[in-house]
Symmetry: C2
Subunit: 325 residues, 2 copies
Amino acid sequence: MQFASPQDAANAILAGNVRAAARLMRMLDDRIDGATDVLRQLYPHTGRAKVLGITGNPGSGKSTLTARLIGHYRKLGLRVGVLAIDPSSPFSGGAILGDRIRMMEFANDPNVFIRSLATRGALGGLSRSTNDIVHVLDAMGHDVVLIETVGVGQDEIDIVRTADTTIVVLVPGLGDDIQAIKAGILEIADIFVVNKADLDGADRTVGDLRGLQTLMGEMPDWLPPIVRTVAARNEGVDALAEAVNQHADFLKTSPTSQVRAQNRATFAVGGLVREQVWRGVDAWLRQSAEGQQLVLDVTARRVDPYLAAQTALAQTLQTNPQILA
Amino acid sequence: MQFASPQDAANAILAGNVRAAARLMRMLDDRIDGATDVLRQLYPHTGRAKVLGITGNPGSGKSTLTARLIGHYRKLGLRVGVLAIDPSSPFSGGAILGDRIRMMEFANDPNVFIRSLATRGALGGLSRSTNDIVHVLDAMGHDVVLIETVGVGQDEIDIVRTADTTIVVLVPGLGDDIQAIKAGILEIADIFVVNKADLDGADRTVGDLRGLQTLMGEMPDWLPPIVRTVAARNEGVDALAEAVNQHADFLKTSPTSQVRAQNRATFAVGGLVREQVWRGVDAWLRQSAEGQQLVLDVTARRVDPYLAAQTALAQTLQTNPQILA
């Protein structure tokens, strides 16, 4: 089902029409052409939600913590949107993981909107999809948008760039202390949570983190606080929310806040270009006779991939001028 | 230090000159312009190496297994190139992980060339860098190239698309059986290894994998074998190498082999375009006055990112016509 017009759809979503929002999200999933027109209408109405990214290894209790944060913000009367990035298996078809069950208590709350996004088949489009859905949740009038990701790879780092405040969740005693603090995870964290802080080893994990922060040498303008929680017992969640508020205050007053917003915009625009160009080039290579011949030539090593890349881009833009228009 | 000419450099590398190869790899790291010209000269001489991808969660013993495979192929008199993808921390500056120590026994073997590649700062270029380095290792005359990655995210899935045969390493009893089999990992595996197979729970892990394979329903033309190893004691490595040989035989005879090679070429060409365009757009947005103004407009929500993406691509191509030339 299509919308009568992009403007109609945008108006419905801005008025908080949940069905219209869900329909737009399905259109975005299916890459239906008109979806971007609706997003463009919504964009001037975004930027009001507080966007929190929550990341950490599987088993760190992120989903429980996310559910507790939903509960916290609901008690304050705030509307909460949730984007759960699902590491879907090819067999489950993107089924919600078992530990997402705690979020189900909000399934009938009209002021909580939960959306899952599968990570498969993304063709580099996962961070675009994340941005798009956050824009929709924001435009719908949610006060807080929570993005929960699984894992700490480059995907997740790209995703959390969408957030105002990034929360990295660790747990004591998993034996992967060093592994968890890898690949730039320290750089992306605005707040660290040591969840399951009632377990042995919590002090050591906190100490390890403090040590790494000290090693960073220069004194940053924001030193990520380390918050201890026991999400399963709803302990430490108020302290976490307080740390989020302090970070929001910091963002309002710090000159780095504007730099951060600009970096985010640069990354979002660059990501859109990348995704659109890749999609176009992929289609040209797979679906045009010239593209298929070029692939055969590269496969047979008659043409090198570096020359082929130039040819493919030029031909894609020539046959799809709307990418530039 | 530059090369006298791309042709000179390519000739030195094709003759097995290790210093020339190392120099080219440093040029590739630093994105020095002439590097691609050398790669283009090398490309017609690639395609002879057997490329194996080895992936799995941290702690699965991949590095030990990789070292055992190096030893296996060295005993057969083969030359081995290794590309180790490092999840470098911002503090270690890409230092080799502790468990890579086992590879060090080959540090003085002139027939083993080990190269590390950090995953940070990749700007979407990690799979390009992987492809480039594999081409160099291949052109140098290595019979086998091993690519070892950490983790099982989209990055790693992209990387292993470079390989002829992908080995996914699991371990029993980590409690992450379901998490480990996430995000398409089943689809990318040509061979499963259950390492540390002397631990309790190995039978269950093998059984879980068999169950998942059964669930896949349709009978594929290649059912990934499940090999048990104890890499620390060098057990099961011959069986693994035998499975690799069987997969190579399958690739030679199966019609899907050609499809696979074409998909790999399509992915490589698309990835090159994506990386080059993103790099160009990122530079235009950050370094040109018009680009910086556009970022400010997006940040202030005067221009939406979808329109900005079109503008940025068009302007980038206009100011950098060599991307298309």
